[in-house]
């Protein structure tokens, strides 16, 4: 831009990187309302992620496998430590816990349908188990949460595994809030609360206060379920070494580690964007904890938080995970934030791809809502078909990469198959920077 008033050139207007348009918009919103922003959807800021790692395909020093012809196994067994009936999955990609209440019944049904078609498990959430969900999920993990909404021994015994949720990647240390707009008659009945009022999920469990208590709580759950099903412990990615160590000490069969890119139905934006660590920084520390205990692979590690592609799956497994879980990606596969609803998203003041006010119950896609009219827009059978397709694509992608690295099973991927593109990723993932054999913090170096 040129100032023509006196003919002298002027500096073009520069938008402040600190006071960017989104930041300024939030300041204006806060100034107008006096309350922080609540939303769902997980972290939106750019974080070090799997994109910052690359695979080293085979040439001479490694011998590749033929794509589409030579077998590359994908099966995984979870819960081999204590449970009589470990969970056997065809693929190492599971569906993360998302609650009935936050999601519509049709969406939960679609998750069950899609996961079952793909040979994997799905997970309940804060709100209890529905018959539809149990009926459509061949393998169903029952979450045991601080709120204990809908918790009962019958559903515990109907589950294929129990996941004790201690933390969530989007909000380690935080509780939940299902605002009254989404409390239908059925949701209210399942949660023993009046219809239409906000329902809080506590940030801590009501009847145990530390790892020693947790060990005894696990004993009780095992006694109630006859020691049949695996006990998972889910932690938010904050202090992965110590939290994994304590989860294992308490008796976990499986540790679920959720990084800060993980989703949430609703919590404070400031929490989502500022608490926790990227999953990239958490995996190797959790694996180190398991290795130090001599239990890597005996206690399985499931990681989640921003998993999107088969490459992400393969990288997580190369870093030592046994399986991954997807939440937000599964919702997108079902059809959330689909451009075909653009006009409806615009009417809500947003755009397809950015809609995150899931707590308001107005989701045009009929997925994160309890509104009967909006729910009619969503077809659970079609949703299940789409999720199955997506899971199969991710699996094929991961297999393709694994074969190129010479691996006959996804579990044979290893850190040596990776290099890092950035110093940050190299340090967090403990993977050598591309073209070097070094990463920041490598033992034996002075850095």
């Amino acid at each position: 831009m040129t100032d023509t008033t006196n003919g002298a050139p002027r500096t073009a207007p520069i938008q402040s990187a600190t006071f960017s348009n989104p930041v300024n918009a939030e300041i204006r919103r806060a100034a107008a309302t006096g309350i922080y922003d609540i939303r769902g959807g997980g972290a939106k800021r750019k974080l070090p992620h799997f994109d910052d790692l690359l695979f080293l395909g085979a040439s001479i020093s490694r011998y590749p496998l033929e794509g589409y012809r030579e077998k590359c196994g994908t099966s995984v067994t979870l819960g081999t430590r204590f449970a009589k009936n470990p969970i056997e999955l065809d693929i190492p990609i599971t569906i993360a816990g998302m609650s009935f209440g936050a999601l519509s019944g049709g969406a939960k049904e679609a998750l069950g349908r899609g996961a079952t078609l793909a040979g994997t498990s799905t997970t309940t959430g804060d709100g209890g188990m529905t018959n539809e969900e149990r009926g459509h999920s061949n393998k169903l993990v029952y979450q045991y949460l601080p709120s204990r909404y809908g918790m009962n021994p019958d559903d515990l015994r109907r589950a294929d595994a129990i996941e004790i949720v201690v933390g969530q990647g989007a909000k380690p240390g935080g509780g939940g809030m299902l605002l009254g707009q989404k409390i239908s008659d059925r949701v209210a009945e399942m949660r023993n609360l009046p219809k239409g009022i906000d329902q809080r999920s506590a940030c801590r469990h009501p009847d145990w206060t530390g790892p020693d208590d947790l060990e005894i709580k696990i004993l009780e759950l095992r006694e109630i379920t006859g020691w049949k099903v695996p006990i998972y412990i889910k932690v938010g990615g904050a202090r992965p070494y110590f939290d994994t160590t304590l989860a294992v000490k308490a008796g976990a069969d499986v540790v679920v580690l959720d990084g800060m890119q993980g989703g949430t139905a609703a919590t404070q934006d400031v929490f989502i964007e500022n608490v926790g660590q990227p999953i990239l920084a958490c995996i190797r520390e959790a694996v180190r904890a398991l290795q130090d205990l001599g239990l890597h692979r005996e206690v399985q590690l499931v990681v989640s938080g921003g998993i999107r592609t088969g490459a992400d799956v393969a990288k997580a497994m190369a870093m030592g995970a046994d399986a991954v879980a997807i939440g937000t990606a599964a919702l997108i596969a079902l059809g959330d934030n689909d451009p075909k609803w653009e006009a409806d998203y615009n009417a809500l003041g947003t755009t397809a791809g950015a809609y995150d006010d899931w707590h308001e119950g107005k989701d045009p896609a009929g997925i994160t809502t309890q509104d009967p009219e909006l729910m009619k827009r969503f077809d659970p059978i079609e949703g299940g078909r789409r999720l199955n397709n997506y899971l199969r694509v991710m699996t094929l992608e991961a297999q393709t990469i694994a074969r190129a690295c010479g691996k006959s099973h996804l579990h044979n991927l290893e850190p040596e198959d990776l290099c890092a593109l950035t110093l940050e990723a190299a340090a967090m993932a403990k993977i050598p920077l591309a073209g070097t054999d070094w990463y920041p913090g490598k033992p034996g170096t002075s850095y």
């Binding site: 309302t33 021994p153 949660r191 009847d207 145990w208 005894i216 109630i224």
Partner: protein, 225 residues
């Protein structure tokens, strides 16, 4: 009377035996001896049987009970009758913290005192404590009745939903959004019935009722503190 001796059998065998009792069992009277503070005693029962534990228990005794009547002839550790669905649990002595936590139904009677967090997040259970209860009791309690014949500790009923709290003695302090409420005839009737079921020597008119002010029911900035 069937006797299960925890000095002779493992916890797993004891619980598996109780779990195998059907609705129609004629083995309705059971006795557990030598509990010696073991955890998870008689948890997960789902049959109309009567179990007497002869001694004190560790954590989570009678957890998630359905239908059964469980008598503890001693004191109970943390989390007794947690998430109980139905039936009755009677403790002759004291109860540690989290007694009746998240319970959905049934009746829990504590003839001694209860520690902190009694009835935390209760969801329909009725709890009668003959003695006192500790701090933070009935935190986020959703529904059901908590009757305290003695005194209550600090922060009673913090962030309460629709549970009713009846206290005969003093209350050290009320938690956020918990207020004293009018005792109407229907409340006196509920109380009289619970006191009778719990074999408690108290009159309903001696109690005060506490409940939610319902100011935290809708999230708004005025509720921040």
């Amino acid at each position: 009377m069937q006797t299960l001796d925890l000095a002779a059998i493992e916890l797993r065998e004891m619980n598996a035996t109780l779990h195998s009792q059907a609705e129609t069992t004629n083995q309705t009277a059971w006795e557990i001896v030598n509990p010696k503070g073991a955890h998870a005693i008689a948890c997960g029962i789902d049959a109309p049987i009567e179990v007497t534990v002869k001694g004190s228990t560790g954590y989570y005794c009678a957890g998630m009970n359905k239908q059964a009547t469980i008598n503890i002839k001693g004191s109970a550790g943390p989390g007794v009758a947690e998430n109980m669905m139905s039936g009755k649990v009677v403790i002759e002595g004291d109860a540690s913290q989290y007694a009746g936590a998240t319970g959905h139904g049934g009746l829990l009677v504590i003839k001694g005192n209860a520690s902190s967090r009694c009835g935390i997040s209760m969801k329909g259970i009725d709890i009668v404590v003959h003695g006192n209860i500790g701090h933070m009791s009935a935190f986020m309690a959703q529904s059901g009745n908590l009757v305290v014949c003695g005194d209550a500790g600090e922060a009673l009923g913090d962030s309460l939903y629709e549970a009713r709290l009846f206290v005969r003695g003093s209350v050290k302090s009320l938690g956020a959004d918990c207020i004293e409420k009018e005792m109407r005839p229907e409340h006196l009737a509920i109380l009289a019935d619970l006191l009778e079921q719990a074999d408690a020597d108290a009159e309903p008119e001696e109690f005060k009722r506490y409940g939610s002010a319902r100011q935290l029911y809708t999230f708004k900035i005025d509720n921040a503190y």
